[in-house]
Symmetry: none
Subunit: 198 residues, 4 copies
DNA sequence: GATGAATGAGCTTTCATTCAT
DNA sequence: AATGAATGAAAGCTCATTCAT
């Protein structure tokens, strides 16, 4: 960001631009997202866009950071019963994940599809961190001597496996497999993988 | 293809163009792959490119089809001991997968990163078909009444999970986790997932 | 038009582009009229051209519409004595037509030559409408029971005959026949054709 | 023509190329007529095309010359009763003209539409010459002292008027006026114009 | 600060023509 | 003579970015 928006108006402008970027991606896809279109959707001039953001990439960066934070907030506020059953936790997380991806008119799906063109894969990082923490707490309660350092690898594998399997399913216009079965399959796989100490 | 390559020279040209496309993708990424650059790398004029391929997309299609066929051939020629141990089979497949992705200077990684812009996701399909067949044969030998229809879902999950976890790891310039650990983790996860009948 | 010209500068730009298009057609013919050439003649970049016009066709459309309107205006302001002699009216119209076609350095001739590639044949339509109206008024005054519905066919024949005969004459670099004789011939033909009720 | 085709095979090739050009224009319009397409339709290579014709223009020239000759032949073989009634002669000629234009799948219409891009307007010349001759004979029989030099102007006007009025009507996909009425109108106009000595 | 007109490099694609075979 | 692969200039058009107002 070129300039810290100290005044309310500036903050509003930044927020508007990020929001317009999201709407533009939803409407036109990432490839169809152009700076003139974003500016138009935000109701400001292209010039203003460049007043607040170094370039187009910075704007998308900001959008991703924004959504990553929002997701992190959402995850933190999710009531998690760390005393409960592992399968229920995993199943719940996967259900929440599908719901999240289906929401936002495909914004998240489009962003994850294009993760390699994104600033940093902040969303995946956020999810990785969150579930790592969650798993840590849960295992601390249930298996006192669970090898924690191993957990990081497992979470990396689980988060990426789940995320991209979900996206691949959703992105398929005529999927041969129903979402419910994939959700159950993923749940089975994850629970078994986590439950068996290496 | 616009013109069927009848003569030896034509066949060479088609092969050169596909090869140049591969090198261009490796060198410039899919977004940086332009018709002038491909033509230059192939050492021919842009016009020649369009003598053999309807458009840029057709050229990339041809590359993908070519590599998909090569991978399918490679997989078929892989010595597979269907009488053997499941874990060894899975571990071997994952090792082979990592080797394949590391080879070709990142061409496959770049193609899989951009799966949603590819002709059809031929590579993923090839892998899915192959492993589905493999698993079918193996389970027929070892668990006579394994629920086969469920296998399709499992293979979908496994192929996508593995593929994208691998790509995400390789695409990360400074991965915190060594490939060996991810390979072992994936193997664990898959073996357990496959071994337990639902 | 992509962008409505709100500011004076924009209006000037649109006018300049249309003017440059006219000059380009005059200088290079319709086939030699390209977007780079138009932009160069207008003294702006190609990009600017596309800020104001959807595509090349839209620009040519605008030029034709502009000139059609100008011609319509010119025709309306022509002092017409509907009480007067038919031959004088026709003769005057033909003289005016020749003068118009000779003016503009051949722009009109080039446009009419290419009528079938024009937006709609706006120029011919304009002329047809105008002369239809004129003829209607004149005949209403002079022959109370002239078969009006027949008039439409006659005007169609007359306008096209006259227009293309004139253009063919003017387009001929070394015509064997002087314009004056063709003008008189056309006048004779039209007057006789109109005067005799079917 | 680069080279006089002395041998039968060469003559055949030239004829084939001209025929292919005609078919190409009919199928793709003049703008869609490219040398590769012509060669393909003729069943020869582009190289051969350039062996017999200087360039694309020369080929189209040849086609026009060929058809002009054919039309001239057709006209000469038409039984004309120079002793007969003028209106019948004109009416017959116009009917013949419409039939000719409607025939050939639109080749003649396409050529006349693009007369200004044609070698020379050979077709119009042919028609002009023919009708001039015809008129001369007829008038010699009926009006001994008809001013012949005036006839040239009249024929010029009549041929162009008729030709382009017809083409404009045929080229209109949804003409408001039926062909029959235009044919009658043209006949009326021409007969009156010719009948009245200046 | 805000604007939006203006830019221009660069992309994809076409096609008349040539020339080695 | 015949072939057809190869050429490359040139077209239409896009869009991230700048800068005068």
């Amino acid at each position: 960001m070129r300039k810290r928006p100290r005044q309310a108006r500036s903050k509003q402008m930044v927020a508007d631009l990020i929001d317009a970027t999201a709407r533009c991606i939803v409407a036109n896809g990432l490839d169809g997202t152009t700076t003139p279109r974003i500016a138009e959707l935000a109701g400001v001039s292209v010039g203003s866009l460049y007043q607040y953001f170094e370039d187009k990439e910075a704007l998308i960066d900001a959008l991703v950071a924004d959504r990553a934070a929002a997701i992190a907030r959402g995850l933190r506020q999710l009531p998690v019963d760390t005393a409960g059953n592992l399968r229920d936790m995993v199943s719940g997380a996967i259900g929440y994940g599908f719901a999240l991806l289906r929401a936002g008119d495909g914004l998240y799906v489009e962003l994850i599809k294009n993760w390699h063109r994104m600033p940093t894969d902040k969303v995946a990082d956020v999810l990785q961190q969150h579930f790592l923490e969650l798993a840590r707490v849960w295992f601390l309660r249930h298996y006192r001597e669970y090898p924690i350092e191993n957990l990081q690898v497992r979470i990396f594998i689980i988060v990426n496996s789940t995320l991209f399997t979900m996206v691949r399913l959703i992105a398929d216009d005529h999927p041969l497999i129903p979402q419910k079965e994939v959700a159950e399959g993923l749940t089975d796989m994850i629970v078994q993988y986590l439950a068996v100490p290496s």
